[in-house]
């Protein structure tokens, strides 16, 4: 197991170097620069600012300098947020994204797993149909529809929540629900599929023949195996919850990382784009590794391999 972890961590390094390199050159290749504004900046002033950021250097020098700083853990200064470093911006936004993602994940699991179990246990009954339809609705309804809809009902009609912001505990409810319900849909469907497969296996029939109660059969014997598809989904799923929150962050005006990830591209804030891309790449790799480890722990067959 330790060998597996060590190997996977080592594999991460070239992946991150590749992500940094590709993002760096893509940002340089795209038309328009961070200093382009509607009002013209006189050439002599532009030269000064470019010199300050090292943009006057040949591309290979800029790349070498960036990678050198990266080795020291310095992601460079942001162009748009003129007196902040990318490290600072990520450090400030990350807790917000983690909190939003964590809450959404709790909602997704708490809603999705019971829904999936109920659907599997009562297969082809109205409970199954209701659960599956709800899950499908969660998946199909885009967040930019679900978000404003929840705001309309709970913030503007019942006036129980703020329409946007991240100031009070209650400000977390609507965004976490919006994001969580989408993933709850996926989790419910995966749980249902996994559970149905396990419930039809011989050892379940044996357990029932031995007189085990339905609750014991479902939660003690079937659930462990039935959740395997959910566990493998959670690796990229959590990364998706954290990276995919751009729309939610915009709808609810949340100061998270997702907005930096997207708006930095529009602002041609290359250092912030590369920094957030790298961060997300590392996150995806780490979460996939964690999912693999968790799956190995849950599945004796895989552990043996």
């Amino acid at each position: 197991m330790l060998q597996l972890i060590a190997r996977r961590i080592l594999e991460t390094i070239p992946v991150l170097v590749l992500v940094a390199t590709i993002t760096f050159f893509m940002m340089k290749a795209v038309p328009g620069g961070p200093l382009d504004t509607e009002k013209n900046i006189p050439q002599e002033i532009k030269v000064q600012i470019e010199a300050f950021y090292g943009l006057d250097q040949p591309l290979w020098k800029q790349y070498a300098s960036y990678m050198g700083n990266l080795l020291r853990g310095d992601l460079g200064p942001s162009f748009k947020h003129a007196n902040r470093s990318v490290n600072e911006l990520i450090a400030a936004a990350l807790p917000v994204s983690l909190e939003l993602g964590g809450l959404a994940l709790c909602i997704a699991l708490l809603v999705g797993i019971p829904l999936g179990i109920a659907a599997a246990v009562r297969q082809n009954t109205w409970i199954d149909y209701l659960a599956s339809t709800t899950a499908m609705a969660g998946i199909c309804l885009p967040t930019f529809v679900m978000g404003p809809l929840l705001v309309l009902v709970f913030a503007l009609h019942f006036e129980q929540f703020n329409a946007s912001g991240w100031d009070f505990a209650r400000d977390r409810v609507l965004p976490a629900l919006t994001l969580g319900l989408v993933y709850a849909g996926y989790i419910a469907r995966l749980t249902r599929g996994g559970m149905l497969e396990v419930l039809n296996q011989d050892f379940i029939r044996t357990a029932r023949a031995k007189g085990a109660s339905e609750i014991r059969v479902v939660f003690r014997h079937a659930l462990r195996g039935g959740l395997l598809p959910v566990v493998s989904f959670l690796g990229p799923g959590i990364a998706g919850i954290l990276t995919g929150s751009f729309v939610i962050e915009t709808i609810f005006n949340i100061p998270g990382l997702g907005r930096h990830f997207v708006t930095s591209v529009f602002n041609r804030d290359a250092t912030l784009t590369i920094g957030t891309a790298l961060f997300y790449a590392a996150l995806v790799v780490a979460l996939n590794l964690a999912a693999d480890i968790a799956q190995a722990m849950l599945n004796p067959k895989q552990r043996a391999n």
């Binding site: 328009g32 009002k39 003129a82 400030a92 703020n162 991240w166």
Partner: protein
């Protein structure tokens, strides 16, 4: 057994649903941010984006101005109703008879927010900083009206004493200009001219370089009515009343919270849920709804800006001015402002907005499709035959797209010309326009200060903002002459002649003059309509809110 379980599940589900609804409907409503703000004199203002910086010598945007206006005060400030320059840090000033020398007398006892006295030397040091090339002050050219400023900036001299800014003593500052600049006092209200506390900047790094941490909360030292208390990127900027401000007794607001909200829809919903007193924008689809149902919340103020189309006059088909005139005359601007923009914008028949400090162009374009057809025919394209199809370039925006589609139809219908629409992302669009790799391109121009020259000088041959390839020696001569004159009437006559040439040559097609469309709660007082959308905060306060306003706002905006 299964039947029993199902009935039980139905009951549980129904109970849970009812309990959930009862919980939501029955809970007492939490206090709104606006309600708290009214009680504590805290203004919540929406801002379209995060400030890039809060250093007045580095920033270049409107959101930055709105915040800096609370933190720093210059020699003069603005009258809240008409933005006329009124005493700020200077209690009075003398202007030499030839209009080239301004002597400012600072108030006694004025202080920076750290307690240091504000002196005339602070202003001189600030000007020197802004003009030091290594800082890269993007608005350094604003100083070029001052004697010697351009030479110092361009490195022709290293001696700052040759620049026309002198501290005669602690409280007397003399500024010498290259010539009379009648709008000089208004120019001082542009943030590039605002003073900074150099010892503070030096404490956090090189004052003549960027990336200095002096503008962080706790570090920031200003001399304005408020001090910076909090700055969370993408979340909120909080300024609190400065007890050391010379006129603190008359400042009624205790705090201002600036909320950067990029999405107009999100901002409007925040306004409706009682989180903002004033928004930066209104979604276009909501304007008519507010206009119909809650006009008391909708504000449409004149704004010193023009929306127009640049024509690339270097392209062969646009070299003939009759073609450009025909294109301009075939546009029905009234239809555009009434059916597309719908925010009270004024159809633009000339470039400089009407009544810009008393100036309104006497020359004008007219909407005359028949005349346009004749002009096009005389240019060799009767009925549009043979006219090469071209692109209208615009940056991604529903509004720009709708306007471009309308104009595309008008040109096809009236002139028989085929036009394609070319949409590009903002930075790509800027790059394309600056390289002059376009045919016709949408553009906007907002005045930096209140004077017609801020519009007309944009199209001087050597202006980096021209981007049309058009140049006219007589136009340049008239504007250069006007820049040396002090008499308003004579200047305005020269502007009239210049604008007449401009409209005859038609390197750009004016479409409409902007308005500022935003939402404002009725309890906000002292918030006047001004052409630069400036609202000096010492004059703003919050009066108790009429109980009906929030409900009315909600009801209004819930309609599609």
């Amino acid at each position: 057994m299964r039947y029993k379980t199902n009935r039980c599940s139905i009951r549980v589900l129904a109970f849970a649903a009812l309990a959930g609804l009862a919980l939501v409907a029955g809970c007492s409503k939490p206090p709104t941010r606006v309600g708290e703000g009214d009680r504590l004199q805290i203004l919540h203002r929406g801002s379209s984006s995060d400030p890039q910086e809060l250093d007045p010598h580095i920033v270049q945007g409107v959101p930055e101005h709105n915040i800096l206006q609370a933190l720093i005060e210059n020699l003069v400030t603005e009258d809240p109703t008409d933005l006329r320059p009124v005493p700020g840090q200077a209690e009075r000033w003398d202007i030499s008879p030839d209009g080239t020398t301004y002597t400012f007398h600072l108030r006694a006892g004025i202080r920076w927010s750290n307690g240091d006295p504000v002196t005339a030397h602070d202003f001189v040091r600030s000007y020197r900083r802004a003009l030091t090339p290594s800082l890269g002050c993007e608005y350094a050219y604003m100083y070029f009206v001052m004697k010697g400023a351009e030479d110092y900036y361009k490195g022709k001299t290293q001696d700052f004493s040759s620049v026309g800014a002198q501290a005669l003593d602690e409280r007397t500052l003399r500024i010498t200009l290259n010539g009379p600049v009648p709008y000089f006092l208004s120019l001082l209200n542009h943030y590039s001219w605002w003073p900074v506390h150099l010892p503070t900047i030096a404490r956090y790094g090189d004052p003549y370089q960027r990336n200095n941490r002096w503008t962080r909360p706790g570090n920031f030292v200003g001399n304005g009515p408020f001090v910076l208390a909090r700055w969370d990127v993408g979340h909120v900027i909080v300024v609190k009343k400065n007890p050391l401000y010379w006129n603190a007794a008359s400042v009624k607001l205790n705090e201002i919270h600036f909320h950067p909200i990029e999405s107009a829809d999100t901002e409007e919903r925040s306004f409706r849920s009682g989180q903002l007193h004033v928004t930066e924008q209104v979604p276009q689809s909501k304007i008519s709804v507010y206009r119909r149902d809650s006009p008391q919340l909708l504000r449409i103020d004149p704004y010193l800006g023009a929306y127009f189309y640049r024509i690339n006059t270097t392209r062969p088909q646009f070299r003939d001015k009759r073609v450009r005139q025909a294109l301009a005359m075939a546009i029905d601007r009234k239809t555009i402002v009434e059916n597309i923009t719908r925010g009270g914008q004024l159809p633009a028949y000339y470039f400089t907005p009407p009544d810009t400090v008393g100036y309104t162009s006497r020359s004008a374009i007219r909407y005359d499709p028949e005349g346009a057809r004749q002009l096009l025919a005389r240019a060799g394209y009767p009925g549009g035959k043979g006219f090469p199809p071209f692109d209208i370039l615009y940056n991604t925006s529903e509004s720009h797209k709708s306007i471009a589609e309308a104009i595309q139809q008008m040109w096809k219908r009236e002139l028989g010309i085929d036009v394609r629409l070319l949409n590009q992302e903002w930075k790509v669009y800027l790059d394309t326009e600056k390289r002059k790799d376009y045919d016709v391109s949408r553009a906007g121009w907002i005045g930096d200060y209140a004077d017609p020259s801020t519009f007309l000088e944009t199209f001087l041959a050597d202006s980096g903002n021209n981007r049309t390839g058009w140049a006219n020696a007589e136009y340049d001569r008239l504007l250069k002459e006007a820049s040396r004159l002090g008499d308003r009437q004579t200047r305005y006559e020269l502007f009239q002649k210049a604008e007449a040439i401009f409209l005859d040559e038609m390197p750009v097609i004016p479409i409409y003059h902007y308005t500022r469309v935003y939402l404002l709660r009725p309890e906000v007082r002292g918030w006047n309509a001004t052409i630069l959308d400036h609202h000096p905060y010492p004059y703003v306060w919050l009066a108790p809110r009429p109980e009906t306003s929030l409900a009315t706002a909600s009801a209004a905006a819930q309609r599609p």
